[in-house]
């Protein structure tokens, strides 16, 4: 296989990792909404934790995207 082709295939495979981050983010916001609708008065107090969980989870998806971008542009 040509190295160039392997690079593009690798970038595509690396992007699959973002799917996991997507599931995680959906879970976080879904759970937040479910909890917030049960007890709306407590929802605002948890916004910081929501964003924190979002950022920590999103970072993993970003890492996967970073690998893909490195393969495409830097390797």
């Amino acid at each position: 296989m040509e190295a160039e082709a392997a690079k593009f295939i690798g970038a595509g495979i690396a992007c699959l990792g973002m799917g996991g981050a997507g599931i995680g983010l959906g879970n976080i916001f879904g759970s937040y909404l479910a909890g917030a609708l049960r007890n709306p008065s407590a929802a605002d107090g948890q916004f910081g934790r929501l964003i924190f969980g979002f950022a920590v989870t999103e970072a993993l998806g970003i890492f996967a995207l970073l690998i893909a971008l490195l393969l495409l542009f830097a390797v």
Binding site: G48, I51, F52, A55, I62, F63, L65, L66, F73
Partner: protein, 277 residues
């Protein structure tokens, strides 16, 4: 930087020789989304083998610091009892960071306020400044974010050791863990503590890098579609709209990542103050 700089046709300065070495041909009409991260030596300073040149990255760091310092000074110098618009922005910023620090570290954490406030303001202004077309994004380089993350990391270690001595290492030994599991738990805690600066810095860097590259890739679609004649120009409206939408998202991400970096710094500093969980 969003806008057109990244969509400029690939200049042959540094990519072309490497591409030629790899036996690739550099298409002259191909847009290069990572050209925006290229460092230029504005004032070359070489001491021996070391390169201390004043680059465009350094320039934008100076601009960031001057801009935020001048803004904060100008808006607070009048010290009105009833704040005006600009003064309330500064007061909101202050109160935002102060409450963030209070929530994470308790009443004793306020002595870290200058550190967290500086980190938050620097990253926020640098991120937002980078969104202007042709501007350089300081935080899109790993070396800058690693420096900031290591600053927080070593502050935690030094303050923790100075304040608690060897009791600081209780951080790695959670209470109520069965003795059998303890070696494993301690190993995990040590690894997670040491990997903090890595995830702390890469999160900010990768978010900015990925956002700006995405922006440039879509902007590149506009250029390449626009070159295809009237039909292409009509089709280029779609990626153009996408570019606008991503720019809006990037403004959110710029503020969010500054917030996340500061919140994580607060949580790590809390470990230095209260290592016993």
């Amino acid at each position: 930087m969003p806008g057109c700089s990244g969509t400029a046709t690939r200049s042959d300065d540094w990519t072309a020789p490497r591409a030629r070495m790899q036996g690739l041909t550099v298409a002259s009409d191909k847009t290069d989304p990572i050209h925006q991260f290229h460092l230029n030596e504005l004032v070359p300073i070489h001491v021996g083998d070391l390169n201390f040149s004043f680059t465009n990255s350094a320039l934008f760091m100076v601009v960031t610091v001057v801009l935020s310092a001048v803004f904060l000074y100008m808006t607070t110098s009048s010290r009105g009892l009833v704040p005006g618009r600009l003064q309330s922005i500064t007061e909101m910023l202050y109160e935002f960071v102060a409450s963030m620090l209070r929530d994470a570290t308790g009443p004793h954490g306020q002595k870290f306020f200058p550190l967290v406030f500086s980190l938050f303001t620097f990253i926020l202004v640098a991120n937002l400044l980078g969104l202007f077309p042709y501007f350089f994004t300081v935080t899109s380089h790993l070396v800058v974010t690693v420096a900031l993350a290591l600053l927080v990391f070593f502050t935690v270690v030094v303050v923790g050791l100075a304040k608690h001595g060897l009791r600081f290492f209780k951080l790695f030994v959670p209470e109520g863990v069965p003795l059998v599991l303890l070696p494993l738990v301690v190993a995990i805690e040590v690894i997670s503590f040491l990997s903090r600066p890595v995830s702390h810095s890469v999160r900010l860097f990768a978010n900015m890098l990925a956002g700006h590259i995405t922006l440039k890739v879509f902007a590149g679609f506009v250029v390449s579609l626009g070159a295809m004649g009237p039909l292409g120009i009509a089709g280029a409206v779609l990626p153009l709209g996408m570019t606008v939408a991503i720019t809006a998202l990037e403004i959110l991400v710029a503020a969010l990542q500054a917030y996340v970096f500061a919140v994580l710094a607060c949580m790590y500093l809390n470990d230095a103050l209260h290592p016993g969980h």
